[in-house]
């Protein structure tokens, strides 16, 4: 699987590249800013791009803009955005109308190598990876007549995993239950919250996030 990395910190860029090479990825492009990345992508398109949200020259939102542009320019290209801090509003901008092949994670997550690698594979395969911080912030948000009150504690756990992009199998593994049990939890949550059910695991990420955001 081919990966491109856009990260201005050399230390981090090389670290990620080494980690991915160890995990069997083919790191085809390593660059320090968005313009260079765009130029490289003209030559050869990877399966997934990993990029820092803050890139030269202004170190503000170049990475985010580039990620949104790349997704529009190359449908099917997966993008995983990394940042020192995550914001609900930015997650929604990045997902726009589809969570397919999108990831948005804190940089800290890289050090948990197995999780990071699996998140990257999931995104590259068209799934999503939303940082747990965002999901837990949204879940703990104060609401009038909190609709989440109808959920059991177990269902809340499942909702949290679902919103961060975990597949049904992933949920089953994390909670040590059978796949059938995980699927039952998921459909029960959708029914209780009144969210239209969807088969696509990434599409349900967007549906759940939109529900939690309002």
């Amino acid at each position: 699987m081919r990966v491109a990395i856009a990260e201005d910190s050399v230390l981090l860029r090389e670290g990620i590249a080494r980690l991915l090479a160890d995990a069997g990825f083919d790191v085809t492009t390593k660059c320090g800013d968005a313009d260079q990345l765009r130029a490289e992508l003209e030559v050869s398109l990877p399966n997934v791009v990993i990029m820092d949200i803050r890139l030269p020259p202004t170190h503000t939102d170049e990475g985010l803009r580039a990620a949104i542009d790349l997704r529009a320019a190359h449908p099917g290209l997966a993008v995983l955005v990394l940042s020192q801090y995550v914001e609900v509003g930015l997650a929604m901008q990045l997902l726009a109308d589809s969570a397919d092949g999108v990831g948005y994670l804190l940089k800290d997550r890289i050090s948990d190598v197995p999780s990071f690698v699996s998140a990257l594979r999931r995104v590259a395969a068209g799934g999503s990876a939303i940082d747990p911080t965002i999901v837990s912030t949204l879940l703990s948000r104060r609401r009038r007549d909190d609709p989440l009150a109808v959920l059991t504690p177990r269902e809340r756990e499942v909702l949290e995993l679902m919103a961060s992009g975990t597949s049904n199998q992933g949920i089953a593994d994390r909670l040590s239950v059978t796949l059938r049990a995980a699927e039952k939890y998921v459909s029960s949550i959708f029914t209780k919250l009144g969210i239209p059910a969807t088969r696509s695991e990434s599409r349900r990420v967007l549906a759940v996030l939109l529900f939690l955001r309002t």
């Binding site: 910190s9 981090l12 801090y85 914001e87 509003g89 050090s111 948990d112 955001r213």
Partner: protein, 549 residues
């Protein structure tokens, strides 16, 4: 000259003199008509006598020390004297006297004195011709050469006087009423010249020209009277000015402008501490180079203030002097206020600069943290993560690495908080709306957020707005016992308005005070303002207004 002024008749005497002149003219007129003089001509001459006599008396009464009034009355008398010729030959001697007196009146405006040497010489020639030479020609029964020569000479003097008037009008900008008067004088002088030339040439048109000239020459004193009335009105406004100044108006310039009838008037103060001129608002200002536009108010020979005005006001020196005298005391107070405002302005400027420098410094530190320590820690943690995957089954080593990674994660979280406290990078990178959404999602109570930005605020303003919302929502959680809140951010006419309203218990809260004071400082430094309404049991409303272009 003083003697002659003190020897002037008392008001009653002046009135009697005027009445006598008018009565005399009336009597001569009646007799003249009986002698067969054309009534139209008689009426024109009566108009001339009356115009100069009455205007002269009024001017005399208003400015007793000014020779202009008496000179006009004398002109009226001259007109009367010349009309005596209708009854007796002796009147012919005074035939040209009214004309040369009129030239004298015109050239000596406004003081009644001839200020230029040229005017004095011209008028001297005029008098010699109109009185001296004329007496001789009357005595010799009007020899053609002598008579025509004197007429042409007086005509030439009148034309030269007209030229002087034109020059005066062109070299100095004048107020409108004065311009009209000078134009009336010029026209009168030209008419005199025309009249005399037509007189030399003779012909049937002469009586008509003569009557027209006489009527037009009577217009000048009427225009003069109108100007006098206007100046009197202006002087009357000094009384209003004194009353207004006693009220200690915040803005001195406006009443001064009204009293001087100069809307362009500006009042500047000399600030010795700054060694500079400043406007009433305390902001630095410069005096115009044109000395005619500036009247400096001094005290002990040092400037206190300056009026920057229409240069035409130079022609009303009396008015200008009266207004500056009336304003002197108020101006002293005004200067102290301007000095204070200048100090405040300077402080405001330095506070803003200090705050901006601080903000930039904090922003730089945040950037350094982000690019330095934070990246290094992430890279270190990443390497530990890789190490962890390669350690195999050594449980102790794995535990140590896991512990180290947990420590780094804690440090990163703490650094993130520090960096965010230094400068909310999300605001400058992604805008106020995104930053505020994160704030409201994490708020301790349900918050309804509306953001409607019609302007593009500066980063400093956005950051201040962010801190206002952040601090208010923290307060809502700590003190308000509220069940919900709203955050409304909108722009209106160059102002960014931020309103945070909760439904809590409201009421004054000492603990809340210091945080709000800090917010108010932050907002005011940027030229904005912060208001807090917190009536007991009715929630709290915080409203911040910040400049937004």
């Amino acid at each position: 000259m003083r003697r002659s002024v003190s020897a002037m008749p008392k008001p009653g005497g002046r009135t009697a003199l005027g009445a006598a002149l008018l009565a005399g003219q009336a009597a001569v007129a009646v007799a003249g008509i009986r002698q067969g003089v054309a009534p139209v001509h008689v009426a024109a001459v009566c108009w001339l006598t009356a115009a100069y006599t009455v205007s002269g008396l009024i001017a005399w009464r208003h400015r007793p020390g000014n020779r202009f009034g008496p000179l006009m009355v004398l002109t009226g008398a001259g007109s009367l004297a010349s009309s005596v010729s209708w009854l007796h030959q002796i009147g012919l001697v005074a035939d040209l006297v009214p004309l040369i007196l009129i030239v004298h009146v015109f050239l000596s405006y406004p003081s009644g004195r001839l200020t230029s040497r040229l005017a004095r010489v011209l008028l001297g020639i005029g008098y010699v011709a109109a009185v001296g030479v004329h007496v001789v020609s009357v005595a010799l029964d009007f020899p053609a050469v002598l008579y025509q020569g004197e007429l042409l000479l007086v005509g030439a003097v009148a034309l030269a006087g007209a030229a002087l008037m034109v020059a005066r009008r062109r070299t100095r900008p004048l107020r409108r009423s004065l311009t009209v008067l000078i134009d009336a004088f010029t026209l009168g002088l030209v008419m005199i010249a025309v009249l005399l030339v037509v007189g030399v040439l003779g012909g049937p048109a002469f009586p008509a020209v003569q009557r027209l000239a006489i009527v037009l020459l009577g217009v000048a004193p009427v225009v003069f009277l109108a100007g006098l009335l206007q100046a009197r009105l202006a002087r009357g406004s000094i009384g209003d000015l004194v009353l207004e100044l006693r009220e200690d108006p915040a803005d001195l310039g406006t009443p001064l402008a009204r009293a001087l009838r100069d809307p362009s008037l500006r009042l500047l103060y000399w600030l010795p501490d700054f060694d500079a001129w400043a406007g009433e608002d305390g902001r630095p200002a410069t005096l115009p180079d044109d000395p005619d536009r500036v009247t400096v108010i001094e005290e002990h020979r040092t400037p206190v203030a300056a009026l920057v005005h229409d240069p035409a006001l130079r022609d009303e020196a009396d008015l200008l002097a009266a207004v500056t005298a009336a304003a002197a005391i108020a101006v002293r107070t005004g200067r102290l206020q301007a000095q204070l405002r200048a100090n405040v302005e300077e402080l405001r400027g330095s506070r803003a600069r200090v705050a901006e420098a601080g903000r930039r410094e904090r922003r730089r530190l945040e950037r350094d943290l982000h690019d330095g320590a934070q990246q290094r820690l992430v890279a270190l943690s990443l390497n530990l993560g890789v190490l962890q995957t390669r350690l195999g089954d050594d449980a102790d080593a794995l535990a140590l690495v896991r512990e180290a990674r947990a420590e780094i994660a804690t440090s990163l979280a703490e650094l993130r908080d520090v960096a965010h406290g230094l400068h909310p990078a999300v605001v400058s990178a992604h805008g106020l709306a995104v930053a505020l959404e994160s704030l409201t999602v994490r708020a301790p109570v349900p918050v309804r957020l509306t953001v409607d930005l019609g302007c593009s605020p500066s980063e400093a303003v956005e950051v201040a707005a962010y801190y206002v919302v952040s601090e208010c929502l923290t307060n809502v959680g700590k003190h308000a016992a509220a069940s919900s809140a709203t955050v409304d951010v909108r722009s209106s006419e160059g102002t960014l308005v931020i309103e945070v309203v909760d439904d809590g218990r409201g009421g004054a809260d000492a603990e809340r005070g210091s945080g709000l004071r800090g917010l108010a400082d932050r907002v005011e430094t940027l030229g904005g303002r912060l208001r807090v309404w917190t009536p007991p049991d009715q929630g709290t409303r915080v409203r911040a207004e910040l400049p937004c272009e």
